[in-house]
């Protein structure tokens, strides 16, 4: 019976399932034995590395949260970090009630449904952005799991929603993608689609595509935000310093050093927490990288065999070279949008997502490029601003009303989802479930 329980535990272990997916993919691609072995082990190690990063990230985040709590008098606002990889990684790692396994199976079956749909419908797109495949599988699995469904029903329903999402989202964005890239070769495969399309729609209403932001000379050197380590470190240092100053105002230097920092100098403590958080994110991303490096080529190989000539749906930076000015407009207007939304959210008493330069650059940047395609310069400013402004409300709503269940209890302390393509369907399904009293 030991052997039986060994197998049973193994097939509910997320690291093992993902390793198995990589193994199957590598075997189908007819890779040599050494590649199969390395690829499978690297996938499993990737997941374990992710867990280590998550632990470090949350360890650094908790004191920062504690400083905010001490610094904002009772009845004030709560803050959290909006970071998709963080949520899915933490939940998968903690694997409470088998949810981690559900995520891994959803990733596999969701992709199979996507490939089948692309084969039989007219939507010939192959979704290839690895971390987004994983995040959406995670979001939908967590959503259905939070309704108290069994593993079977969670994986079945989440895979169907996930497969439909990966097939329809690139098709939805394609009319604008044609305008941006000037051809019909590539599609958009990133969880930003819904808010990017909002930017394109508003751009059309208020602007003129002829007045393109790309016509003016507009050189800016804000591209160091592309370096994850720098952009996260800078933002987190600012956030931690604000937190510690608020805490010092309320409970004094002695209070902070007694209750929170364990005797360490309060400024040094805040600084080190910010860097600790950043280090945790970098370790997490290294794990994601190892996971994706093995699984994406496998998915690509399988999809290309089944649907020849399909358009690849790719990561958001593929559109950046087509509209570098809009990208910078998005970064600026997106930052403004985040700050204004944060103030309003704090005033109405909802949980406040901390600022994210990743969202301002990658998400509002794409929103601005979509806006520019339909509404020129005005469209770009509106697209970038709206992505962050509306996005921050969606992110806060999902966190405040626990659309995806109690993420904290599942291991993702003070972390929330970012991408609208997971949040908006999530809210719709959650609302329907509420109507039926689930």
């Amino acid at each position: 019976m030991q052997i039986f329980s060994f197998i049973l535990e193994l097939i509910t272990l997320p690291a093992f399932i993902l390793g198995l997916i990589a193994l199957i993919g590598l075997v189908i691609q007819k890779k040599p034995f050494s590649d199969v072995l390395t690829g499978t082990f690297k996938t499993i190690l990737g997941l374990l590395i992710m867990g280590i990063g998550i632990g470090a990230l949350i360890d650094a985040l908790i004191p920062i949260q504690a400083m905010f709590e001490a610094g904002v008098p009772a009845g004030g606002f709560r803050t959290f970090v909006t970071f998709d990889e963080g949520v899915v990684g933490a939940v998968q790692d903690a694997n409470v009630a088998g949810i981690g396994a559900a995520i891994a199976w959803t990733m596999l079956f969701g992709y199979i449904i996507h490939v089948l749909l692309a084969r039989v419908t007219k939507f010939k797109y192959i979704y290839l952005t690895g971390h987004m495949i994983w995040i959406h599988a995670g979001a939908f699995a967590i959503l259905f799991h939070s309704f108290g469904l069994s593993l079977f029903w969670t994986v079945l329903l989440a895979s169907i929603v996930d497969g439909i999402y990966m097939t329809l989202a690139p098709a939805f964005a394609q009319p604008i993608m044609r305008k941006i890239t000037g051809n019909d070769e590539i599609a958009f495969g990133h969880g930003q689609t819904l808010l990017n399309m909002l930017g394109a729609w508003v751009g059309k209403l208020i602007g003129d595509p002829e007045d393109s932001a790309e016509k003016q000379a507009f050189s800016s050197k804000l591209d160091f935000f592309r370096d994850m380590a720098m952009s996260i470190a800078i933002i987190m240092i600012i956030v931690a310093l604000i937190a510690v100053i608020l805490a010092v105002i309320q409970i004094g230097v002695a209070g902070v050093q007694e209750q929170i920092s364990g005797g360490q100098n309060f400024l040094l403590f805040a600084f080190l927490q910010a860097l600790g958080f950043t280090a945790g994110v970098l370790v997490l991303l290294q794990g994601v990288r190892m996971l994706i490096a093995e699984i994406v080529p496998a998915f690509k190989g399988i999809a290309e065999k089944l649907i020849p000539g399909a358009k690849p749906a790719l990561d958001c930076p593929v559109i950046y070279p087509f509209a570098p000015n809009s990208l910078i407009i998005g970064l600026i207007s997106g930052t403004i949008g985040q700050v204004i939304a944060m103030v309003i959210l704090a005033l109405i008493g909802w949980a406040v997502p901390l600022p994210s330069m990743i969202a301002a650059f990658f998400a509002s940047g794409s929103g601005a490029i979509f806006g520019n395609a339909t509404g020129g310069r005005r469209g770009a400013w509106a697209g970038g601003f709206l992505w962050s402004f509306v996005g921050w409300f969606l992110i806060s709503f999902a966190y405040q009303f626990q659309v995806f269940g109690d993420l904290g209890a599942m291991g993702a302390t003070a972390l929330g989802f970012t991408v609208p393509d997971a949040i908006v369907p999530g809210i719709v399904i959650w609302a329907i479930a509420k109507l039926f009293g689930v």
Binding site: L128, D223, M228, R289, V296, P312, D315, P321
Partner: protein
Amino acid sequence: MIIATLCGMGFGTSMMLKLFIDDILKDEGIKAQVVSWDLGSHKGQDADIIVAPMDMERHLRSSESKIVLIHNLVDKAEIKQKVMEAIQSLSA
């Protein structure tokens, strides 16, 4: 030979470039290891050729690897031409 592709995160665009280059190398019958890296950690790692988006030029000036900058990340013809040139210049 090691060819490294680069992007901000190290698994989005760089992964896509890696897949494109894998295809190109297969067509040309060239054996090389293609790895995807993030901008933050490429220093301290060894590669013969680094392939990156054009706008990362500033970050790569001090690199000792052969740098290939791609303007249009989805233009396979551009990627092929530039990567093949780099491979030939190294083996020459």
